[in-house]
């Protein structure tokens, strides 16, 4: 069989766009973690809070405790499953909140221009310069431990990342002829921005958010590790690592190592996915799709 040149080009393009294995694995892992968290009450072999001091620090592979137990005898597997809920929902909250704030500020700066753009951009520079984890710790120190305060603090901290990207894309799109033609046709600035500019910004924003999700997960896990995150006895991967510190010292690392591994794989998966999305969008934009 012989192929025509257009057919060859089409197959080549499909091959180029075929999802890499690493991305497929990342997506599969994230889906697995999300489903595990969602169905934790059904799937988890034990209650995440059920203690048994005389069964503490059992190693992985122990009958009834596939991943062993922590220092108070709680099932590590069950806590990882339940921990997925807070560990994934909290960074999602950070991403959504910082997304809303970032889009609003970014679009405002791009569309207003002039002194408003300058003030907003310098404001973002100031927030950008402040370490996100430190800001979150300060907020926790004022408002007390829990998830609400760190989520809000990290969202504020991440807003400039989103805002800058949105502003940059919005400035590029705003200079395109189609935007000018809408204005000439008499459409209002707000309508043009929301109806036509925002959809063009979204793909880049989605890729950016995937990366931000991974960073937020690590930051929130760090806060939980420091005892500033979720309240006991709630399960959370960061607090699980923190609670295993002395167990690691006494040669029983599993109760901390396993949730640490899950954090690592989740962050890697999210970043792989984010980079893939960013790459895909870039290709589509360069191909004019």
């Amino acid at each position: 069989m012989t192929l025509t040149i257009p057919a060859l080009r089409a197959r080549s393009a499909r091959r180029r766009r075929r999802r890499p294995l690493i991305v497929s694995l990342a997506v599969a892992f994230l889906v697995l973690i999300a489903v595990t968290g969602l169905l934790a009450p059904v799937l988890a072999p034990h209650s995440p809070d059920a203690t048994s001091l005389l069964n503490s620090l059992l190693p992985p592979g122990t009958e009834g405790y596939w991943l062993g137990t922590d220092s108070t005898g709680r099932d590590v597997l069950s806590r990882i499953m339940y921990g997925a809920r807070l560990s994934l929902l909290a960074p999602l909250g950070v991403v959504l909140l910082s997304g809303v704030l970032g889009i609003t500020i970014g679009l405002l700066a791009a569309r207003a221009g002039g002194w408003a753009d300058a003030v907003i951009s310098r404001g973002m520079d100031i927030v950008f310069a402040f370490p996100s984890l430190l800001l979150a710790m300060l907020v926790v120190a004022v408002f007390g431990p829990g998830l609400t305060a760190p989520i809000c603090a990290l969202a504020v901290s991440y807003t400039p990342f989103v805002g800058r990207v949105v502003r940059s894309v919005a400035l590029q799109e705003g200079a395109r002829p189609y935007m000018e033609s809408y204005r000439v046709m008499g459409f209002g600035e707000l309508w043009v921005t929301l109806r036509h500019l925002l959809p063009n910004v979204m793909p880049v924003l989605i890729a950016q958010s995937a990366l931000a999700f991974g960073y937020a997960l690590v930051d929130l896990a760090s806060l939980s590790y420091l005892g500033l995150g979720v309240r006991p006895p709630d399960a959370d991967w960061g607090s699980m690592i923190s609670q295993a510190r002395s167990a690691i010292l006494q040669g029983e690392p599993w109760s901390g190592l396993l949730p640490g591994l899950v954090v690592l794989l989740t962050v890697v998966s999210v970043n792989v996915l984010g980079e893939h999305l960013g790459g895909s969008i870039g290709r589509k934009q360069s191909e004019g799709v």
Partner: protein, 540 residues
């Protein structure tokens, strides 16, 4: 948002593996360890040692003023420099130090004869004026010494002879003589302290005491070095260690690494997780302490107003699991707030009454029965504890789970060390709290020192406990010079308190110490905080 976070996270995990692999070489395979034995004696040192580096896990002391020696970081150092009228011996019994004898001609008077020939580090003699000045200095509220509490019944203290002072009380108080061996009576040189003013006890101002070690260098943020006082009056106990250098490593992993490598020679309060590793390296020793871990009912108005709820709480405590897993065998369960090791007198009386108290055993069945018959017991109970003590976090977590099983609702309230400290001093910090999980220790073996806190109106009676019979027993004990009679009254109060369940004792932890294989002489005792423990240390 840069890439290195991946590397950092991976490094943490790899680091954890490496550390665990190292630890595994000397550690047990499960969460519980074989119960360690209590050490009561070790071979005396025979060799001099030039320098011993000792770590203070509580961190660098904010001051070395003996009047402020009430926290571990200060006490561990100051105890080797400054002395009181008496000191505590190996059996916690008072032994003469800067005083040689005390006459107690009537219940209100103590005539104290001072040691002749005792000198400060600068060679100047210790005078009665120095002693009276030191005691009065602590009584000044502006100084902020927590030792001021001993003087609630003090009428006055005066110089009454060339080597004599007389202490007068307004009313009898049998607890007072115990303080003669505490920092409340540590003697500083009047002229030096007055000249130093506010700098006394700081790195700039220094201190002037009489003990076996004198202050050498204090490089803030780094270390404190004490030099042996070769002119110490106690020639029978001349220290073998020439220089004593204190470091302030507070991170448990770093402490373990420093002790393992020999960078640090010793430490009190070694992290429990490191015991097995260090036992194979040098001397990891345990001793009976005067400590107690307990849950105090600090709100008797809510769910815990029902005695059934308080009784149910006691049945929820997994004593066996706590001793085996949380304390890894380095503790004993308690039936009463004050541990048996703190019965400084009337031991037979105390033992007989102690045996009558309920056995410390978890019984979820009884707890469920009590809860099912009490509407109050099902209401929310807020349990506060400090995250600074990992063991307390585990106990609180296990208790909350057991409560859920029994139908109770315990909400955990983890507090930082600072927040937890505020609970003991500020009523507003106790707002909303029902229970307090805490650990403490007695400075001397006198049960009254704790039980008096639960009398009506006492500052530390946070729950507002009122029981006329309890108050009467304590009041009688406070004036009972006869040890057996006093023990009977204290034991009576102890039984009343146990029946009312206003305080739920959990365990008494062993005090522990580690020192390297080349050292000997030091037996771990609670009294290390107020006695010159380094004088016993030396080479072998």
């Amino acid at each position: 948002m840069t890439r290195p976070r991946f590397a950092a996270l991976a490094a943490v995990l790899v680091g954890a593996c490496t550390l665990a692999a190292c630890a595994n070489s000397g550690g047990p395979a499960t969460g519980q360890a074989a119960a360690p034995t209590v050490t009561t004696s070790v071979p005396a040192p025979t060799e001099d040692v030039d320098t011993v580096t000792w770590n203070v896990p509580a961190g660098e002391p904010p001051t070395l003023d003996p009047a402020l020696s009430a926290i571990e970081s200060v006490s561990t150092v100051v105890a080797n420099m400054c002395e009181g009228l008496y000191t505590l011996g190996p059996d916690y019994k008072p032994q003469p130090a800067l005083a040689t004898a005390i006459d107690h001609p009537d219940p209100l008077t103590y005539v104290i004869r001072l040691r002749e020939g005792a000198t400060f580090w600068d060679g100047k003699p210790v005078t009665p004026e120095d002693v009276v000045y030191s005691v009065r200095r602590i009584l000044d509220p502006k100084l902020g010494s927590s030792w001021i509490g001993w003087a609630a019944n003090l009428d006055g203290i005066e110089v009454t002879g060339r080597d004599e002072i007389t202490l007068k009380l307004k009313k009898p108080d049998v607890v007072v003589p115990n303080f003669f061996a505490m920092p409340a009576f540590f003697v500083v040189q009047k002229a030096f302290a007055e000249a130093a003013g506010k700098d006394f006890g700081t790195a700039a101002g220094g201190v002037m005491c009489t003990g076996p070690y004198k202050l050498g260098d204090w490089t803030q943020g780094q270390d404190i070095t004490l030099a042996r006082n070769d002119a110490w009056w106690n020639t029978a106990a001349k220290p073998k260690v020439k220089d004593l250098r204190f470091t302030f490593i507070s991170d448990p992993s770093a402490q373990t690494a420093a002790l393992n490598s020999g960078d640090v020679d010793g430490q009190f309060g070694v992290p429990r997780a490191a015991h097995d590793q260090l036992a194979g390296k040098g001397h990891m020793l345990f001793g009976e302490s005067l400590s107690t871990t307990f849950i105090s009912v600090i709100n008797q108005q809510g769910a815990l107003s029902d005695p059934a709820a308080r009784q149910a709480l006691q049945y929820l405590i997994d004593y066996k699991g706590i001793i085996a897993s949380v304390y890894r065998g380095t503790a004993q369960p308690l039936r009463a707030l004050v541990p048996p090791s703190a019965w400084g007198y009337g031991t037979d009386v105390f033992q007989a009454e102690y045996d009558k108290l309920p056995e410390p055993v978890q019984d979820l069945g009884k707890a469920k029965t009590l809860v099912s018959g009490s509407a109050k017991a099902k209401e929310k109970i807020v349990l506060a504890y400090t995250t600074a003590i990992e063991e307390d976090t585990k106990i609180a977590t296990a208790l909350a789970d057991a409560a859920t099983q029994a139908g109770m609702n315990i909400e955990l309230k983890p507090l930082t060390a600072e927040q937890f400290g505020a609970v003991f001093s500020a009523p507003q910090a106790r707002a909303g709290l029902d229970l307090l999980l805490a650990s403490g220790y007695l400075d001397f073996p006198e049960p009254l020192a704790y039980y008096q806190f639960f009398t009506t109106g006492n500052f530390y009676n946070f729950g507002g406990y009122k029981n006329a019979d309890y108050d009467a027993a304590i009041a009688t004990a406070m004036v009972a010079d006869d040890p057996a009679a006093r023990a009977r009254e204290v034991a009576k109060a102890q039984a009343i308190m146990a029946k009312d369940v206003v305080n739920i004792p959990i365990a008494t932890q062993y005090v522990n110490v580690y020192y390297g294989p080349g050292l000997t002489g030091l037996v771990p005792r609670q009294s290390y905080l107020n006695t010159p423990w380094a004088a016993a240390l030396g080479g072998k």
